[in-house]
């Protein structure tokens, strides 16, 4: 048999990257591939940026870069949430549905209940947190497998969000199922969350994304709680025996991911300006993609918040650049898939060659 079978054990979830180095040349080579591996995504990102900038100078225009960041902000925020659930060994499939229902919830609370931004935002965030709690309840108390619990929640929410309006989108003047007409409107201040740019350049949603990224990066990588979150995902029994409450840690993770998903929904609502039933369709897959690409970033091969953000930006740059080059929409998914496979082959394949 070959490489795959001559692997050293003990291997639990991950494979250790064994590198056998016999002499200087090999050592140097090993070092070079290690760098290439851990930087593969960055290298690709740089190469892409250069190609796009050469082909279309408008690409590196500051406004365009900001618009890339703005375009990825929601996916990056959701992806960061997924990353936290991946860290505790779970998986949150409900985030797309949470974001979509948050769009509806925000619109409903402003248009039907006539609440303003200061009431709507906490309300919607609380909604996301409650969904996270429910997920955690199913997973932690009833011991339902993560995928199954969050998938059920996904179906539940994608139906639930349509019921108050009988499946209609929510915009000013909505006629309610009871025949009356809603008289509220979007609070103009709420719209600023999605549409205002600080100093005319940095969109609020980008600032929110960066705040989330920094906060979660510090939480997951630099704090006790973060260590325990990962420990829960690595070996739940061992974590419990070390005196941590894995129940609370998992609950925390799902509440974080639910809340972030509803923050994503708030940003979408503020950008779109109405409760559109079709929004958020591809969010789940894109967020999952971002956090999985994050595995490859820095060669860490594990969930990490920084990687997730870079992953989201990576896809954003790719799609923006292709659009600038006037590539038809159907080639974009293909290129996205192909570049991903390439990045993966670099990140994961290189370490193997000399095992």
């Amino acid at each position: 048999m070959t490489t795959a079978d001559t692997e050293d054990f003990p291997v639990a979830k991950k494979q250790p990257g064994i590198l056998i180095v016999d002499d200087r040349a090999a050592r140097w080579l090993g070092g070079a591939t290690a760098i290439l591996r851990s930087g593969a995504v960055f290298v690709l990102l740089a190469v892409l940026a250069v190609i796009f900038a050469l082909a279309q100078p408008a690409f590196i225009n500051l406004n365009n870069l900001m618009s890339i960041l703005q375009a990825v902000s929601v996916v990056a925020i959701l992806g960061a949430g997924v990353t936290v659930t991946l860290a505790v060994g779970g998986f949150d499939l409900s985030i797309g549905a949470v974001a979509a229902s948050s769009v509806m919830a925000a619109s409903y609370s402003m248009i039907v209940w006539k609440l303003d931004v200061y009431e709507t935002v906490p309300l919607v965030l609380a909604f996301g947190a409650v969904v996270g709690l429910l997920n955690a309840f199913l997973i932690v108390r009833l011991r339902v497998p993560d995928l199954l619990a969050t998938l059920s929640m996904m179906f539940l929410l994608s139906g639930l969000q349509l019921i108050p309006t009988a499946g209609r989108s929510i915009s000013a003047g909505l006629s309610l199922p009871d025949g009356s007409k809603a008289t509220g409107a979007y609070d103009p201040h709420f719209l600023l969350i999605g549409r205002y740019s600080l100093f005319g350049t940095v969109p609020v949603s980008v600032v929110l994304m960066l705040l989330v990224a920094v906060a979660l990066f510090v939480l997951t990588e630099k704090t006790r709680i973060g260590r325990l979150l990962f420990a829960t995902g690595g070996n739940e029994v061992a974590t419990r025996l070390a005196g941590a409450s894995t129940v609370r840690l998992k609950t925390l993770a799902y509440v974080i991911s639910g809340t972030l998903a509803s923050l994503g929904g708030i940003i979408i609502a503020a950008r779109v300006g109405r409760g559109d039933v079709s929004s958020g369709g591809s969010l789940l897959m894109d967020a999952v993609a971002a956090s999985l690409i994050g595995y490859a970033v820095l060669g860490l091969r594990r969930p990490n918040v920084l990687g997730t953000i870079v992953g989201a930006v990576f896809v954003g740059v790719l799609l923006n650049g292709l659009t600038m080059l006037n590539a038809p929409y159907y080639t974009q998914d293909f290129v996205k898939g192909a570049v991903l496979v390439g990045a993966l082959a670099l990140t994961y394949g290189l370490g193997r060659s000399n095992a």
């Binding site: 048999m1 070959t2 079978d5 001559t6 692997e7 050293d8 054990f9 003990p10 291997v11 639990a12 979830k13 991950k14 494979q15 250790p16 990257g17 064994i18 590198l19 056998i20 180095v21 016999d22 510090v218 630099k222 704090t223 006790r224 709680i225 973060g226 260590r227 325990l228 990962f230 420990a231 995902g233 690595g234 070996n235 029994v237 061992a238 974590t239 419990r240 025996l241 070390a242 005196g243 941590a244 409450s245 091969r301 594990r302």
Partner: protein
């Protein structure tokens, strides 16, 4: 022509030379004991012979032919069957014990394609009967204790057709009974011409069966001892110094007990019992496999409920509902089966030596919650020094350590902070005699707490404890608690 000839075999992991020109031969029909301190390279040698790892240099000949198996399947086909050191490597959660016993038959293309549950059960029972072990065939493999997993591994290996049988620490979590049954089978197999390479840190085991002993040090075979084997000489070769007499006499327990159990019941069907431990006392709990040692410690640590009775710690009622409660009350426990109970998977955060030690102490060491500063690295360096852990450094992955050194790290975790009651469940699994001696010294030196140590090896119990308690069918037999000597007689009779 010897059955197996290993010539100048080498293997490195980055900077570590795990095997450094090791040479040895094994003849048909002999049992060769392979000794060596933790990290000497024994398991690495085994992994190469069983097709798990490849060598960097040197040659192996088996029955006169060059032998370099590329996979475990190839090694098995060539007649080399192995029981690995880790009990996690036998079966899979989700499969039954019967499935695990037959796993290598499932992988054999010569076997019938279709299987039935009844057929599986029957064959598995036959495998167990041949060795004389008893196991719950329908239990999920993921739910059975480490000792049972080890029995599965042994039974499966013995059922195979082989020329060379390699056993890496097969009795680490077995008690005397099972060990004895294993030895009977091994001696029978030897008579049939099977060659056996037997690795163990239990000198008594080796005394019972070995024809020859080889000693490894620093990745090479540095000594060979024929019958009659001078084990004290072999151990001196192995650890590079003389081992002083085991234990400086038992101390008398004084004052009020630190910890007491009254009218305790572990299982609905078991007897009520009492138990008390005093400050400065080291108490060993021993008993056969499945007697309830682990259950007793788990009940004190709050991870399983005590069915009846009360516990008192430091004069206060002790009713932990979780490990966290117990730790907060001053109880620390190094559970058995380190892979499941203590270690993070490879390339997952927290799999370094330092992080393994610090996990329960993070709140104490980093009061503000941020992991700034190098407290855990310093603590790990201290532990490496104190327990002579053989590791590249405090930040090395725990998975690059040898089995015995991993065990030392787990002990170091619970030694890193003071506690009132230290619970150790099979703490010396795979730890070499020299290191065990050092650890015992370390445990006994601390007199500001009590220690309760579960072990299935009476020899170990005698070496470490001031007092030995025997547990049987989840109850503590009155007659057995008492003098060390009489217990030993009873157990080894």
């Amino acid at each position: 022509m010897p059955l197996l000839h290993v010539d100048n075999l080498s293997r490195s992991f980055e900077q570590t030379r795990a095997l450094d020109a090791a040479s040895l031969t094994v003849e048909r029909g002999e049992i060769v004991a392979l000794m060596g301190a933790n990290g000497a390279g024994k398991s690495t040698l085994v992994k190469i012979l069983s097709g798990v790892l490849s060598a960097d240099g040197g040659t192996v000949t088996l029955k006169g032919n060059p032998f370099a198996p590329g996979s475990p399947a190839e090694a098995a086909a060539a007649g080399v069957v192995t029981v690995h050191q880790s009990t996690d490597l036998v079966g899979a959660p989700g499969l039954t014990v019967a499935d695990a016993l037959l796993l290598n038959r499932f992988a054999d293309r010569g076997q019938p394609f279709f299987v039935s549950r009844r057929g599986i059960r029957r064959q598995a029972q036959a495998i167990l009967d041949a060795v004389g072990f008893e196991l719950p065939l329908d239990r999920d493999f993921g739910d059975i204790p480490a000792a049972d997993r080890q029995l599965v591994a042994i039974a499966r290996a013995l059922a195979n057709k082989a020329d060379l049988l390699i056993l890496d620490e097969p009795t680490a979590s077995l008690s005397a009974d099972e060990s004895r049954r294993l030895f009977e089978v091994l001696l029978r197999l030897r008579r049939n011409g099977l060659a056996i390479l037997y690795i163990s840190h239990r000198t008594a085991d080796l005394e019972a069966i070995a024809d020859r002993a080889l000693v490894m040090r620093g990745g090479a075979v540095v000594g060979a001892f024929a019958r009659p084997i001078d084990f004290s000489q072999a151990i001196e070769t192995m650890i590079g110094r003389k081992l002083q007499s085991a234990r400086p006499g038992a101390r008398q327990a004084q004052g009020a007990p630190i910890f007491e159990m009254r009218g305790a019941r572990l299982l609905p069907s078991s007897e009520l019992f009492d138990l008390s431990v005093h400050e400065g006392e080291v108490v060993a709990i021993t008993g056969v496999l499945g007697a309830g040692k682990s259950r007793l410690l788990s009940a004190i640590f709050g991870t399983i409920p005590l069915l009846a009775g009360t516990m008192v710690l430091d004069g206060r009622p002790h009713r932990p509902k979780s490990a966290a409660d117990a730790i907060a009350a001053g109880v620390a426990m190094a559970a058995e089966d380190r892979h499941r109970s203590s270690l993070m998977p490879p390339s997952w955060p927290g799999n370094s030596l330092a992080a393994t030690i610090s996990l329960p102490h993070l709140a104490k060491w980093y009061r503000h919650g941020f992991l700034f500063g190098d407290r855990e690295r310093r603590e790990a360096e201290r532990a490496i020094e104190r327990l002579h852990i053989k590791a590249p450094g405090p930040l090395a992955s725990i998975w690059t350590l040898s089995g015995g050194n991993q065990q030392k790290v787990v002990l170091a975790r619970w030694e890193a902070e003071p506690s009132r009651l230290l619970l150790l469940d099979e703490p010396f699994q795979g730890v070499d005699v020299g290191a065990r001696h050092d650890i015992i010294q370390a445990i006994r030196r601390r007199t500001d707490r009590a220690a309760l140590i579960a072990t299935s090896d009476p020899e170990e119990a005698i070496e470490v404890a001031d007092r030995i308690i025997v547990i049987d069918r989840h109850g503590i037999a009155d007659a057995a608690s008492g003098a060390v000597a009489s217990v030993f007689e009873e157990l080894t009779a």
